[in-house]
């Protein structure tokens, strides 16, 4: 569309310098004549948008990676620290339980209210020892890394010493030295048990503290992630906002440019049509007035000269022949003048002009045209008449040149508010290419728009073309009547 308009525009100076119309010339080389193409002046927004998309996608990917990393960290923290800690605490509790069972056992041994010798407790102690060993083994596995070697060494040493003392107590008991054994329990064993118990308690407290720390770290991670989520959301919103603003800006510029082009195109079309009309009118008048006058004068002179020539002389015959030629030329000139710009339009109006024009076309082209008028005729004057006439002219021209039809229908309707003109044929229809690029159709559309009217090209049921022009009555009656300059340039 733009290209077409520019093409039309590029013809202006050529058109003005040559009286023949070259409106169908569509030479691409003409673009070079100083009217740049619209899209070469503005940078394309595609690159910017792609860049924006890339940035947004990169942000999403980067953020996903970041979140995954944080979640991984969280999981690691939970597995490595929290779960480990929990399992370790469970084992410590088991150890604590075993230690308290030992304390209960020692209390029962000392109390002496069982009817059994102290050796009876050895299996009980053995069972607890087995369980303790198992618990300590598991516990040391869970606690590795969080406990200092000194702590480990201390624990191992204390347990070893405790069991050593236990063994000595039972050894004394086996030797029948029950009192000594009981003293040993009170002097040493209970104390060692208490030490172990408080050590394990400390470890439990330590676990609880590191549990708390881990909990705090988890909270920190959650806080950080939350903060990052807000930042990310803000950044994403900003990116969306910038992209949207950029798009809006580009769109506005594009629409402004389109509007400008459209205006220029309309301007151009008006100028083009006005120039064409004034040129044709000028040529028509020149032909009619100047050449017509001259030829009429020549005719008068020839007739006068003929009267001086003797009757039946060859001179008189020659003069008569020249007079005949002048007469024919005069008619041709008048006919051409009429064809270029029917003076009838200005003088007798559109309706009368069509009454004359349609039989003329019929005669010239051999196409049978059914002409039909409807409604109460009103005057269509000035430029509006010229435009309607030109539209009809172009439409019939198309019928004659392209449709291959031998028949056409022209309908002129004077509706209360609208003037309608229809040209219908049952030919081959408007070729696609011409529909898109033909200057004639464009000119018809421009003319209708200049009148504030509407033109519709459509296919008829029988396969031909129907050109339907409708012009508001007020425009038809008044357009260009006062402002003659529009039509005359």
């Amino acid at each position: 569309m733009i290209r077409f308009i520019i093409t039309a525009f590029s013809h202006i100076d050529g058109f003005l310098s040559r009286p023949t119309l070259a409106l169908t010339n569509d030479d691409p080389a003409l673009y070079a004549r100083g009217v740049p193409r619209a899209n070469s002046r503005e940078r394309s927004p595609t690159l910017g948008l792609l860049l924006g998309l890339l940035v947004t996608l990169s942000a999403v990917v980067a953020y996903s990676a970041y979140i995954t990393w944080q979640v991984d960290g969280l999981r690691r923290l939970q597995t490595d620290m929290v779960d480990r800690n929990r399992k370790d605490s469970l084992q410590l509790l088991r150890i604590q339980n075993d230690l308290s069972l030992l304390a209960v056992g020692m209390r029962d041994m000392i109390s002496g209210d069982e009817p059994y010798p102290l050796t009876a407790w050895s299996s009980q102690f053995q069972r607890i020892r087995t369980d303790l060993d198992d618990a300590i083994r598991l516990e040391s596995g869970f606690a590795s890394g969080t406990r200092t070697p000194e702590q480990n060494a201390f624990l191992t040493r204390e347990f070893a010493q405790f069991w050593d003392a236990v063994d000595r107590v039972f050894s004394l008991a086996r030797d029948g030295k029950e009192k000594e054994a009981r003293d040993q329990i009170q002097l040493s064993l209970q104390e060692r048990q208490a030490t172990l118990s408080s050590t394990v308690s400390r470890l439990l407290v330590q676990n609880s503290e590191s549990q708390e720390q881990a909990g705090q770290r988890i909270v920190q991670i959650y806080d950080r992630v939350q903060r990052e989520v807000y930042v990310f959301l803000a950044a994403t919103l900003l990116a969306i906002l910038l992209t949207s603003l950029s798009l809006i800006r580009w769109n506005r510029r594009l629409f402004a440019r389109l509007a400008e082009i459209s205006e220029r195109r309309s301007d151009l079309a008006q100028k083009l049509i006005a120039t064409q009309e004034s040129t044709l009118r000028y040529i028509s008048r020149e032909l009619h007035d100047e050449f017509g006058q001259i030829l009429t004068a020549i005719g008068s002179m020839l007739r006068r000269a003929g009267t001086h020539a003797p009757e039946g002389s060859s001179l008189r015959a020659d003069l008569q022949e020249v007079l005949q030629t002048v007469q024919t030329t005069l008619e041709s000139v008048r006919s051409l003048s009429q064809a270029l710009h029917p003076v009838m339009l200005d003088e007798a109006g559109l309706e009368t002009t069509l009454d004359w024009y349609i039989p003329t076309v019929e005669r010239q082209t051999g196409i049978a045209i059914s002409y039909e008028k409807q409604g109460q005729p009103f005057r269509v004057e000035g430029v509006a008449g010229v435009h309607v006439y030109r539209v009809l002219q172009e439409a019939l021209n198309n019928v004659a040149r392209h449709s291959g039809a031998k028949e056409a229908w022209v309908r002129l309707r004077f509706l209360p508010n609208t003037l309608e003109l229809e040209v219908e044929d049952h030919g081959t229809g408007i070729p696609e290419r011409q529909n898109k690029r033909g200057i004639g159709l464009v000119a018809m559309r421009e003319r209708s728009e200049l009148m504030g009217g509407q033109i519709i090209f459509s296919s008829t049921v029988k396969g031909g073309t129907l050109v339907h022009l409708s012009v508001p009555r007020e425009k038809a009656e008044s357009y260009g009547k006062e402002d003659h300059s529009v039509a005359c340039g």
Binding site: R94, V104, D108, Y116, W121, S123, R127
Partner: protein, 557 residues
């Protein structure tokens, strides 16, 4: 396979009937307590003092004390506390008249003794052919020797069991050293006496029942039978001693199939014990390594009742332990060298989570060859519903039917006889008291009546029963393992006392064989080490097997 094999032998109509019975239990319960003439009311002695033992009693037993071939009933009773005497209550011995009725023969039998009884263990410790009775008590346990003339004499002091006051619960007779004499294992709960009762309270004002945590544990006892009517306390030397134990249930098993009897003990809030027989007169607790000590979360649960049975017909005994409410029953199956708790996936776990189980036992209720599982439930706290809305004081007993594929379904509500009516259940025992070949149930309640449920088969399934008598082994053949091959399935049962909670079931062993009229093979591993095998025995009857002397069919069951 077994099902297919049996179906292929059946006429089509029977097969159809069997198919239609797919969802019905195949048997029916009838509450025959009243018609049988059993009018028993347990006395917990509760007077408001909220003494700990009041919540726990009491047990029951099936025994054929007069050897007339009909299982009699013994119901243990509590008593009023000293200083709060209202009524004189004693345990009750009901003689089975053989016609569905029982006669209270307590006084005549010399058992009209007032004591605060908890549990009972029946065993012929002197190998005279007549079952003797140990009553576990709060205070002094009592041993009653059967005179053989339908009377009992209290031999507590002369037997060497006297002067041992405690808070004894379950007990069992078994021959741990395989000398042919039954020894005695007694569970003790905690060190408690009315004089040393502790004040526990939920609201800080009113006294409530204490949990076992409030008291020191007490060791179980093992008494060695010297063979001269006296017993020797071998608790310490045998390695049984553990002053931290708070034991409520004990069951006999041969965990490693060594022929030497082992014991598994349910402890309340303490780790359970698996006393593995070291075959030298001592035991070693292997519960931890066997996976029986704690729950799978490593927690010592509140073990109450216990039983052992080959419920998956694998040949190895499985273990069941009832626990407190909010704790599942532990249903353990031997997996490799240790036990695996399959309660959650077997359907027993979740179904038992809101009940407090006491007595429990494996028995083949519908005689399909797969051991089912019965549980007596009931809370210890009358006000429990105020604290836990979905748990009541009286609770429905449960009957888990074994589908033979590792899963159980509670059918208590489907068997009739108002069996599923909520009760404060404690003791639970089984016997074929009406000699129709299936196992009937006896259930005791705390401070309430006892219930006798007669089992009647509806599907036509039959059984084969064995009454074992040892010669070289102990006379009761306790510890003997009977394995039965029928229809491609190997079932095994051990002759055992103890099990359940404070109770003892009959000693004869019963095998369900569906509708088979013959079994392929049965082997008996006697405690003495002797093995006997019998083939092609007809079902639908009981057999008398005497060690080394062959097998004699009874006329009917």
């Amino acid at each position: 396979m077994a099902g297919l094999a049996s179906c292929s032998q059946l006429p089509p109509l029977d097969a159809l009937a069997a198919h239609n019975e797919g969802n019905s239990p195949g048997f029916r319960f009838t509450d025959v307590t009243a018609p049988a003439g059993i009018q028993f009311q347990h006395n917990s002695g509760a007077f408001g003092g909220k003494f700990l033992p009041e919540t726990l009693g009491s047990g029951c037993a099936f025994l054929d004390y007069d050897r007339d071939g009909w299982q009699d009933i013994l119901l243990i009773n509590g008593a009023d506390w000293p200083g709060h005497k209202r009524n004189r209550t004693t345990l009750r011995l009901y003689h089975n008249n053989g016609n569905g009725t029982f006669t209270d023969v307590t006084t005549r039998a010399g058992l009209d003794v007032e004591l605060y009884g908890m549990g009972v263990a029946v065993g012929d410790y002197n190998n005279d052919g007549f079952p003797d009775i140990l009553i576990t008590c709060v205070g002094q346990n009592r041993l009653f020797r059967n005179t053989g003339k339908a009377t009992f004499v209290d031999v507590t002091n002369t037997s060497g069991l006297g002067k041992r006051e405690g808070f004894s619960t379950s007990a069992l007779w078994f021959d741990y050293d395989r000398d042919g004499l039954l020894d005695l294992f007694v569970c003790n709960y905690v060190k408690w006496s009315p004089e040393h009762d502790v004040f526990c309270s939920l609201d800080g004002k009113h006294k409530s029942y204490c949990t076992p945590e409030a008291y020191r544990g007490e060791t179980c006892w093992l008494f060695h039978n010297r063979g001269n009517g006296t017993f020797e306390d071998v608790t310490a030397v045998s390695g049984i001693f553990d002053s931290s134990s708070k034991s409520l249930g004990v069951a006999l098993l041969d965990e490693n199939r060594s022929g030497w009897p082992d014991l598994v003990v349910a402890n309340d809030t303490q780790p359970n014990k698996l006393y593995r027989n070291q075959e030298n007169g001592t035991f070693k607790d292997a519960a931890l390594e066997a996976g029986l000590a704690f729950s799978s979360e490593g927690k010592a649960r509140a073990g109450m009742g216990i039983d052992v049975g080959d419920f998956d017909n694998s040949g190895s005994p499985g273990v069941a332990i009832t626990n407190f409410d909010n704790e599942m029953i532990g249903l353990y199956r031997l997996s490799g060298k240790s036990y695996e708790d399959i309660a959650p996936q077997s359907g027993v776990g979740l179904a038992s989570k809101n009940s407090l189980g006491f007595g429990c036992m494996f028995l083949d209720m519908n005689l399909d060859g797969w051991l089912d599982f019965a549980v007596a439930n009931g809370h210890i706290d009358e006000t429990v519903r105020n604290i836990r809305g979905n748990v009541g004081y009286a609770q429905s007993p449960q009957l888990f039917l074994n589908n033979g594929k590792g899963s159980f379904r509670d059918i208590a509500s489907e068997v009739g006889g108002n069996f599923d009516q909520p009760k404060v259940g404690r003791g639970l025992a089984y016997a074929d008291f009406d000699r129709d070949g299936d196992l009937d149930l006896l259930l005791t309640t705390n401070n309430g009546p006892a219930y006798l449920y007669r089992n009647d088969q509806l599907s036509g399934n039959r059984s084969i029963r064995f009454h074992l008598a040892g010669t070289k082994s102990n006379r009761d053949a306790i510890g003997a393992t009977v394995r039965l091959f029928a229809g491609g399935i190997l079932q095994s049962r051990m002759v055992k006392g103890g099990s359940s909670y404070l109770s003892q079931s009959e000693l004869p062993v019963t095998f369900g064989v569906e509708k088979r009229d013959q079994i392929e093979r049965v082997t008996i591993d006697w405690p003495s080490g002797r093995t006997e095998e019998y083939k092609n025995l007809a079902t639908g009857r009981a057999y008398e097997c005497t060690e080394g002397k062959g097998i004699v069919p009874r006329n009917g069951y």
